[in-house]
Amino acid sequence: MKKSYWIFVFVLVAGIFFVEYDLTKRTSRSAFVKKNPARLIHTKLAPATSTETSYQDPTRAGFDFRFQELTNEISQLQDDPEKVEQRMKILAESMTDDDVRQLSEVLTNKKNNGDKRAMAVEILSRNQSNESLKQLENFIRKNESPAEKWSREREFESVLKAQAVEGIAAFPQKDVAISSLTALDQKIEESFLKDRIKRSVASLKNQAPLPEKQDNDALEKLVE
């Protein structure tokens, strides 16, 4: 009687820990390449089965689902932008190096939709690990083909890269950010990006206000 009681307790505890471990793995794992993105779009959810991660329960959703959900929010008005910031921060901080690398693929793939790529650079910027720094640098350094004609799509590449520059500038260690941006400046030939880099570096050296502030001060003069 006493023996079976302890076996029961052991199985119970082991069971709980197993469930917990499995959930932790599922929530942090990314599956960008493994799953068809069309299946991850909201509203058309497959019925939950006992073996598959159920996307109907948000707390059990994988990284890619949460990322797609955040991406979809860009095209919606937000009553509480602060909460959106919070959600982006939580997702960015939960990423593994594998997630970072796969998100970097989302960012660099020009076939992806603009919102998805913008969210990718945002989440990578907020991750602030060595791996994400490396991926942002690689993205900025990738020079566009001179054969590619200028268009809104080409303009968007510059905007994404400018966003990545600000991501690097926000890196917690200022000296790392400065040396990363200085090295990038020597590899880049696009004047607009060089200007963005120089503004960030000047700001990091306390020689100028944040580029974000400089931008809005200038834009304010247009609309106020």
Partner: protein, 450 residues
């Protein structure tokens, strides 16, 4: 007793489980939160004459379908809110509380097509056709394009681009300036409002609006509306100080104690002695008199193989160029992606100096002056030298362009401003100088509406 123990275990385990879930859990929104109501969709379809079928059929939820993208865009326009500005007398090109009504007024119909694939969208008499490029854009890019096209209905047309990435393109794609209030200005006004006054927009949408406005301000106006701020730097005659003129004031900076010529760089200024470049600290005086060699690799690389006669850093189109002229009279450009100097090209004349400006011409560029005083414009895109009218006056030591005027340092050590054919002393400066450059300052923008 045993039941109590099980209860304690269960309670404890659930607590661990719950707290671990807490850290992973995100504030959640219902998966269908992005769906539109049928009545909203019908209203948008009616108000804007949307050819729903061409967009892939009526779709209320799935943003992969172009119809839903368009509906999302219209909803953002309809519900987007802007804070009151400090100066309410400025009404802008479009009233910020009436974007929806204004768009509706300018739009007779919207369809999806791909008959002009190189365009993002086009407007034919108030009927807009959104191309494949439109569908790939970000939400912000689509909304901006919509607003842009709507302005064309009011009769605003583009002219050919005289600068920026669209210069030389056969199609007219630019507006003269911001104050013209054309499609580019109206689009930019929207971006600026979203960034500066936007209340209920997504943070990433706002960030993109800011960066898009800053980027486009350089790309689509013949007079860029936001320009890098510049200051004038003059090297004192005894070469111990740099006098910097910025925003109506003069201040003094230390100069490294080395022989050489004062040169402008994209990060400030240097003293260049033919072998190495020594930085002048623009933002502060360090208090250390030692010369610090500039760490930028393209300047470092210059002196490694040979003496350099002159170098210049300048923009052309959307690209930065760094050009050097060796004592062997060969020209080479720095290849940024490769991180090294490109191949050297022999010049058909002996070069006396490089200049970023010539008197009577305020357009930026790179000019080569031959020892006989002939002037050639170097066109980096085609790597051609274009002969310029007139002779270089060698009593002009330096010629620069500052705020659309030529400043000239003459051999008498004085700085003059050229007005028409005559030279006037600039700002009544009594000081004598041995060098003159214009340096970029990265702490604010110059706002140039016209």
């Amino acid at each position: 007793m045993s039941q109590a123990m099980i209860a304690v275990f269960l309670f404890f385990s659930t607590m661990v489980f719950a707290s671990s879930q807490q850290s992973l859990q995100m504030p959640y929104k219902d998966s269908e939160f992005t769906c539109l109501s049928a009545s909203e969709a019908d209203k948008y379809t009616r108000d804007f004459g949307v050819d729903v079928r061409s967009f892939g059929g009526k779709e209320l939820c799935d943003a992969q379908v172009d119809t839903k993208k368009l509906f999302n865009d219209i909803k953002i326009v309809e519900g987007g809110q802007f804070a009151e500005g400090q100066n309410n007398l400025i009404k802008g090109f479009v009233n910020k509380s009436q974007y929806y009504d204004w768009l509706k007024e300018q739009t007779r119909g919207i369809e999806r097509g791909n008959d002009i694939p190189w365009a993002t969208a086009y407007n034919s008499g108030g009927y807009f056709t959104m191309q494949d490029g439109w569908a790939k854009l970000s939400t912000l890019g689509r909304v901006g394009t919509f607003i842009h096209e709507a302005r064309h209905t009011e009769g605003y047309r583009h002219i050919s681009c005289r600068q920026g990435p669209y210069q030389g393109v056969s199609l007219a794609g630019c507006d003269s300036n911001y104050n013209y209030g054309g499609s580019h200005a109206v689009e930019m006004e929207y971006y600026a409002r979203v960034s500066v006054q936007g209340i209920n927009f997504h943070p990433v949408y706002k960030k993109m609006a800011r960066l898009m406005a800053i980027a486009r301000s350089n790309f689509v106006f013949n007079t860029a509306v936001l320009q890098p701020r510049e200051a004038v730097m003059a090297l004192s005659e005894n070469r111990t100080q740099a006098h910097v003129y910025d925003q109506g004031q003069w201040f003094i900076r230390e100069v490294p104690a080395v022989e050489g010529r004062l040169k402008r760089t994209s990060f400030g200024a240097v003293i260049f002695n033919g072998l190495a470049a020594f930085a002048i600290e623009l933002y502060q005086n360090s208090g250390f008199p030692d010369a610090i060699e500039d760490t930028y690799s393209y300047y470092k690389l210059m002196g490694e193989t040979q003496n350099i006669k002159d170098f210049e850093e300048f923009d052309s189109g959307v690209k930065r160029h760094v050009v050097k002229i060796g004592n062997n009279n060969k020209l080479a450009e720095f290849d940024f992606p490769q991180g090294s100097w490109g191949s050297e090209k022999s010049l058909p004349f002996s070069v006396a100096k490089l200049s970023t400006a010539v008197p009577g011409n305020v357009k930026a560029g790179l000019f080569l002056v031959s020892t006989e005083g002939k002037i050639f414009n170097y066109v980096p895109e085609s790597q051609q030298l274009v002969s310029q009218p007139g002779q270089w006056d060698f009593s002009n030591q330096e010629v620069v362009t500052f705020k659309n005027q030529n400043l000239i340092l003459r051999n008498d050590g004085k700085i003059y401003v050229q007005s028409g054919e005559s030279l006037q002393p600039w700002l009544q400066t009594e000081n004598l100088y041995s060098g003159l450059v214009v340096v970029p300052v990265y702490d604010a923008f110059e706002v140039v509406k016209e």
